[in-house]
Structures are given as C-alpha cells and as structure tokens.
C-alpha cells in the first residue's frame, strides 16, 4: 500500500495546493479534476480557442501562477487525471473515478484521500426559478471566464451577497452590463459589519473596484429587493420584484441568481483523518473561507495526511484561516436578510418536479426518510444539492447531513460500470 498514491479530488486552489504540498514531501499523488484544465471555479482558465479574456484581480492571478508552477515542478510525482469525475468510495474502500474521455470507470486503491470539491451556490427558490434563461450567477461567471463573452440580451442579476457585484462588474467590462442588480439584503445599514469588514483588506479593494465599474456603467444596484416570481413569454422573462412594499415588473433575457454558497458535501465521504485510508476535506468544500484561504486549507489538509504518515510540516497559518473565518462571518452578517415565502406552485425539487404545495402536504413531523420516500424531495439526479438547503430552511433542520455518503455522486452509464477496471491486479 505504501506505494499507492494519495488521491486528491478537485483541481481548484485547495486541491492543487494539497497535491503540490504532498508531492513536495516526496509522495506520489493522483490529482483528479472533472474539467479539462486545473483552476476550479475561481481560477477558471480561458478556453484555448477563445478570443477574449476576463480580467482577474492581480492577487488571484499571482496565486494561481504560483500553484500551477508548483504542480509543474512536481513533475511525475503528480499523476494528473483531467476530464475525470470522482464517483465516490465503493463498499471495498476503492475510490471510483469516471474517465469521461475513455468512457471507463476505474477503481483505485489509495493510501489517503483529500477531497477538495469546492462549494455549491445556494438558491432560494421563487416561482419560475426553473425556467430556461435563469442560471446561477456563479455558473454564468465561470462561463464568462471560459469564453470571455457575456450572454447576449438584457441580463438581470438578483439574490444576495458580494458575488452579485463581482459578476455584474465582469459582465459590464465584457460588454453587457446588467439592467439592474437586485440585492435582497441592506448592507449599507449594517454599520457594525461594515466596520468588521475593514479587516478584509484585499477583498475590500476588490469590492470597491467592482462598485466603481458598476457606477461607471450606470448599473442600478438596488437593496432590499425580493424576487416574487418569474414567467416567460415569447421574448424573454418577466420578473416581479417587491421593494419597499411596491411590486415592480422588470424584463430580461437572462436572470442570474445567487444566495451565497455552502460546502459541496452531498454524498461526499466523511472526514476521517484517523481511518485506515485517511480522508481529509479541504477548501470551500470543507468550510467556505474563500479562495485565498483555500490554498492554506489545502496545505493544512496535506499536513494532516503527512502527520498520519509520520512526517512533519510547519503549521500552515491557522491565524490566517481564523481571519478568513471572521471575514466570512462579517460578510454573512452584512448581507443578512429575511427570505420571502415562495408561492405554493414554486418548484422546490427541480429534478423530480416537486412543488412547495407537495412539501406542505407532507405531515409536519415527517422524518428525513419520509420527506425523501413519500415526498420524493432530494431523490433526483442532483441528489438534493439544490433543494436540500431549501428544505432545511423550511423545516428548520438540515436534511443533507442526515444522508450517509454513497456513490455514485454523479449519474454514470451502466456500460461504464459493467466494464469497471480495478487496479488490484496492477500491484
């Protein structure tokens, strides 16, 4: 087993940092990334044939250049598998990898695993959120980073949090400023949180540059705005918005929504640093601390694995992780707002087409199991990554955490599974 590699899942800042740190300690690493290039969502690289690029803050460019250089320097100590989706751990403890290029599933025995699969955006549902033309702000941002080209036609950005500012400014710079940015919170009135944000030096500078871009493109930024519903007609989307007690109707071709992010944990193996095959989570997939902290957290995860193998590394900067935690806490307080009640017709679970009225028809004391088996919530192909937080909010108690890790994390073809390759014979 000692020559088996350490698996690192996810090629964003946390995974790349963990992989480089482990390789630098002399260990073989298997780095698995679902996309064709490393970078993750934050450091998403532009597509080879793209003719435009999106400007990234200097600090992010510097951070990524350094990480990419470390992966290069590790040479053959890092076996890089791009275009490969992590499916989970099977009953025999083997880690299943779906190589999309060859259409094969490979089961690998590994010495330890670092899971760094990042965060998922939270979406507070409203009637019509499931319509074509509505997408997440983060999803639109990664597409913009890849192509350099914004969607055509009027764009409305809505929800809550600092990402709304970033995406809107990037869209404006790329040539299609949003018709409006609708923030549900009222960050200007939260003076205490604003003061606490003064500690977040680089992020504050970044936010200021986004605000300046929006001002220069005359993009209205409206706070205290609740999205009530969206409907589609022949020419696009009509969005009903409530602000200061008045209902407005806006039109757009695209609507970008975002209500913050949370760790992508649904179905993911549990952290088990003491196990026979140690498993450690890293980055925003462990705790949402942001891109800079993810690099440190990847190093922290690698250090934890190395400690299990009897190797010592200096402490990676817990103080900076704590500082990042304080910034995140101040941010969530800054944008804190009450969620509007969705209409009964609102789709809660898109995969299984289940509405709020379906959820309300379940008994009040329905167990997690009943919500799933009777209500069909969380049973679809996304495995509850999107309806999970909504149902948790509706019943005041988390659902996804009650679901044990299980594979496959993503739909996989039966043909690929039937043709499963294991590495048992290789060793």
């Amino acid at each position: 087993m000692s020559d088996a590699p350490i698996l690192v899942v996810g090629g964003g800042p946390a995974g790349t940092s963990a992989a480089a740190t482990l390789a630098e300690a002399g260990l073989p690493v298997l780095l698995v990334e679902q996309r064709d290039q490393l970078g993750g969502a934050i450091h998403r690289q532009v597509a080879r044939g793209a003719t435009h690029a999106v400007h990234a803050p200097a600090r992010h460019r510097r951070n990524w250049a350094e990480l990419a250089q470390r992966v290069d320097a590790a040479g053959s100590r890092i076996e890089l598998c791009t275009g490969t989706v992590f499916l989970g751990v099977d009953g025999d403890g083997r880690h299943l990898l779906d190589d999309r290029e060859s259409g094969r599933v490979v089961a690998r025995s590994v010495r330890a695993a670092v899971i760094a699969v990042g965060a998922v955006e939270k979406i507070h549902p409203f009637e019509g959120w499931d319509l074509p033309g509505v997408m997440t702000a983060g999803g639109a941002q990664v597409l913009l980073k890849e192509t350099g080209v914004p969607p055509t036609g009027p764009i409305l950005v809505a929800g809550t949090g600092p990402l709304l500012l970033a995406v809107s400014a990037q869209l404006a710079k790329a040539g299609n400023p949003p018709v409006a940015v609708l923030e549900r919170g009222r960050p200007w009135v939260r003076f205490n949180s604003l003061l606490r944000m003064a500690w977040a030096g680089p992020q504050l500078g970044e936010a200021a540059s986004y605000v300046a871009t929006l001002l220069s493109h005359r993009v209205p930024y409206r706070t205290g705005a609740d999205i009530l519903s969206v409907r589609e007609d022949d020419v696009g989307l009509e969005i009903r918005v409530r602000r200061n007690g008045t209902v407005h109707r806006l039109r757009a071709r695209h609507m970008l929504v975002h209500d913050g992010i949370e760790p992508n944990r649904v179905g993911i193996p549990l952290s088990d640093p003491g196990g026979a095959v140690p498993v450690v989570l890293a980055g925003d997939g462990r705790e949402v601390l942001g891109a800079d902290a993810a690099i440190l957290d990847g190093r922290r995860a690698a250090r934890e694995i190395l400690a299990r193998l009897g190797m010592r590394l200096p402490e990676p900067g817990e103080a900076r992780l704590t500082a990042a935690r304080n910034v995140q806490a101040a941010l969530s307080d800054l944008f804190r707002s009450a969620l509007p009640e969705p209409t009964p017709e609102t789709l809660i679970c898109r995969c299984e087409a289940r509405r709020l009225s379906d959820f309300r028809s379940l008994p009040d004391d329905a167990s997690t199991r009943e919500i799933r088996l009777m209500g069909r919530f969380g049973m679809g192909v996304c495995q509850g990554r999107f309806c999970g937080p909504t149902i948790a909010a509706l019943r005041g108690e988390a659902v996804p955490s009650a679901i044990p890790p299980r594979w496959p994390l993503r739909p996989v073809s039966l043909a690929a599974l039937a043709d499963l390759k294991t590495d048992d014979l290789e060793s």
Binding site: G49, V85, R100, L131, G139, T147, C382, R385, V412
Partner: protein, 87 residues
Amino acid sequence: MMTRIFWNDYVVPFRPGETIAAALGRAGIINLGPAGGPARGRVFCGIGACQACVVAIEGGAPVEACLTLARDGLRIGSMPAVVVSDE
C-alpha cells in the same frame, strides 16, 4: 478556427476548448427542452452539480453540457421529459 456540433437539427459552431454549454449559449440556445416537461433543461450551475444541463449524445451516455468539451460533428439533443404522476 470554427468547428460545429449539432443540437437537434441546428448547426452550432464552437471554438476549440469550449464546452457544449458555451457553444449553445453563444448560439442563443437557452432552452434545452424537451417541450412540455414540467422542468426543461438549461445550463444552471455551470459546475456539474445540478444536472440540469445534461444532454443526450449520439452513441454515448448523456453528459453535462457545462463539463463536456464540444467535439467536431458531435450530435446532441434534449433528454426525455421527467414525468410525474399525479396520484
């Protein structure tokens, strides 16, 4: 250099290294169908988590449009509708 994929019967150009989602988006194809389903396909989360942009592919298993690179001549289309029975 431009190459092309086929969305149902539409010809959709793409640039090298671009995903199916990026190519469909530039061509203005937002609705990934099918018509009449309670929830139609669309590119949503962009990171393979929501499965809303899964498309059918000729000669292979369905894939997430947001993760999968376009290849010249690829033929793709809508997934079958999700059917929910009203008991």
